[in-house]
C-alpha cells in the first residue's frame, strides 16, 4: 500500500473542505468545513509519520487537535455573539469589514 494514496485521499478531503469554505455562506457550516480541512492535514501528518517511522508526526497531530479544540471553543463563542447581535449567520450580511 503506497503511502501516497493516503496523501492523495487527504488532498481530496482538503479540497472538499476548501470548496465548502468557498461555497457556503453560513458561519457554522463554514467552520465545520475548516475542521474538515484540519482533519485532512492530520491524516497527512500521520501518514508521513509512518513513512519515516518516527513518532513526530503523530505528536504534531496531537498538537493540531489541541489547537483545533481551543479554536472551536473561541470561534463558536464568537459565532453565538454575532448571531445575537445581528440575528443572522450569513457571512455576507455583516458589513463590518467593508471599508
Amino acid at each position: 500500500m503506497p503511502i501516497g494514496y493516503y496523501f492523495a485521499l487527504s488532498a481530496l478531503m482538503f479540497c472538499i473542505g476548501l470548496a465548502g469554505v468557498l461555497l457556503r455562506r453560513n458561519a457554522i457550516v463554514l467552520f465545520m468545513c475548516v475542521e474538515l480541512m484540519l482533519n485532512s492535514v492530520n491524516v497527512t501528518l500521520a501518514a508521513a509519520s509512518r513513512l519515516w517511522g518516527g513518532p513526530d508526526g503523530q505528536v504534531f497531530v496531537f498538537f493540531v487537535i489541541v489547537v483545533a479544540a481551543a479554536e472551536v471553543v473561541v470561534g463558536l463563542a464568537l459565532i453565538v455573539n454575532i448571531f445575537f447581535r445581528r440575528g443572522t449567520l450569513d457571512l455576507d450580511a455583516p458589513r463590518l469589514l467593508k471599508g
Binding site: 500500500m1 503506497p2 503511502i3 501516497g4 494514496y5 493516503y6 496523501f7 492523495a8 485521499l9 488532498a11 481530496l12 478531503m13 479540497c15 472538499i16 473542505g17 476548501l18 470548496a19 465548502g20 461555497l23 457556503r24 455562506r25 453560513n26 457554522i28 457550516v29 465545520m32 468545513c33 474538515l36 482533519n39 492530520n42 491524516v43 500521520a46 501518514a47 509519520s49 509512518r50 513513512l51 519515516w52 517511522g53 513518532p55 503523530q58 505528536v59 497531530v61 496531537f62 498538537f63 487537535i65 489541541v66 489547537v67 479544540a69 481551543a70 472551536v72 471553543v73 473561541v74 463558536l76 453565538v80 448571531f83 447581535r85 445581528r86 440575528g87 450580511a93 455583516p94 463590518l96
Partner: protein
C-alpha cells in the same frame, strides 16, 4: 515454518490495510461531500461526525491507535457535541443561503478547487506512489537503496521496541523532546477557556459601541408601528431575516 507464518501474517495485514483504507477512505470522502452539499445544518454536522469516525479508522490503518482513540473522543465526541449544541441553541438548522449563490461564484470556486486538487495529486504521484514507498512489504532498510523514490520505513520497528505500543512511542516523544510545546498547549487551552467565558457573557449592544452595527431586522419606528396598526402590507423584500421576537419592541 516461522518465516512462512510471518509472511502470511504480513500478507493478511497488508490486505487488511487495503480494505481499511478503501472502506474508510470512501466513507470519509462521501461524508465530506455530503456535509458540504447538505441544506440541513444538523444533518451536515452528523455527516461530519461520520467523516471523523472514518478518519479514526484511517489512523488505525496507519498504525497509530492512540490518534484513533483521541480522534473519537475529542473530535467526534467533544467538538461535535459543541457544534450541535450551538446549532440547536441558535435554532438555525436550515440553511437557505446555499441556493442564492451567484453562478460565476460557484463555477469559479469549483474550478479553482479542482485545479488545486489536480496539482496536489500530480505532486504526490511518482515519488510517493512507487513500489518502494509501499509500507510493510519490504525490509525497512531500503531507505538508501533508491534515491528516486521515498522508501517507507513504517512504524513496525518503533512499535516493536515499545511495550505500550503507539501510546508509549508518542508519550516518550511528547514528554521528552516536546515537553515545552506540551506545556504551551495546556496554557493555550486555559486561555481559550477564559476567552470563551468572557465572550459568552451577554452584554447590552449599544449602537455607539459598533459604528457598523446594522440590525438584521429593522427596528420599527413610531411611524411603522402606527402603519402596522392601520394594517399596511408587510414589505415582501424583507422575508430573508424575519424579525425576532426579542427585537420587535
Amino acid at each position: 515454518m516461522a518465516p512462512v507464518l510471518a509472511q502470511a501474517a504480513a500478507g493478511t495485514a497488508n490486505t487488511a490495510e487495503i480494505i481499511l483504507f478503501v472502506v474508510f477512505g470512501a466513507i470519509a470522502l462521501g461524508a465530506g461531500v455530503a456535509m458540504v452539499t447538505m441544506r440541513n445544518i444538523v444533518h451536515a454536522a452528523l455527516m461530519l461526525v461520520i467523516n471523523f469516525l472514518a478518519i479514526a479508522g484511517l489512523y488505525l490503518a496507519l498504525q497509530s491507535s492512540f490518534l484513533s482513540i483521541i480522534q473519537v473522543i475529542v473530535y467526534a465526541g467533544a467538538i461535535m457535541v459543541l457544534f450541535l449544541f450551538v446549532i440547536m441553541l441558535l435554532g438555525v438548522d436550515r440553511d437557505d443561503l446555499l441556493v442564492d449563490l451567484k453562478v460565476w461564484h460557484r463555477v469559479g470556486a469549483v474550478a479553482g478547487v479542482g485545479l488545486l486538487a489536480a496539482a496536489l495529486l500530480w505532486g504526490f504521484s511518482g515519488t510517493y506512489t512507487s513500489q518502494n514507498s509501499r509500507c510493510g512489504e519490504q525490509a525497512p532498510a531500503t531507505a538508501a537503496a533508491s534515491r528516486s523514490a521515498q522508501a517507507c520505513v513504517g512504524m513496525d520497528a518503533a512499535l516493536a521496541a515499545d511495550d505500550e505500543g503507539s501510546v508509549g512511542v508518542i508519550a516518550a516523544s511528547m514528554f521528552g523532546r516536546y515537553a515545552f510545546p506540551f506545556e504551551a498547549a495546556a496554557l493555550l487551552l486555559t486561555v481559550a477557556t477564559i476567552g470563551a467565558l468572557i465572550l459568552g457573557k451577554r452584554t447590552e449592544v449599544h449602537q455607539d459601541d459598533d459604528p457598523a452595527f446594522e440590525p438584521s431586522a429593522p427596528v420599527p419606528t413610531e411611524e411603522d408601528l402606527v402603519e402596522a396598526q392601520v394594517g399596511a402590507p408587510i414589505d415582501p423584500d424583507d422575508d430573508r431575516n424575519p424579525a425576532e421576537p426579542g427585537e420587535d419592541v
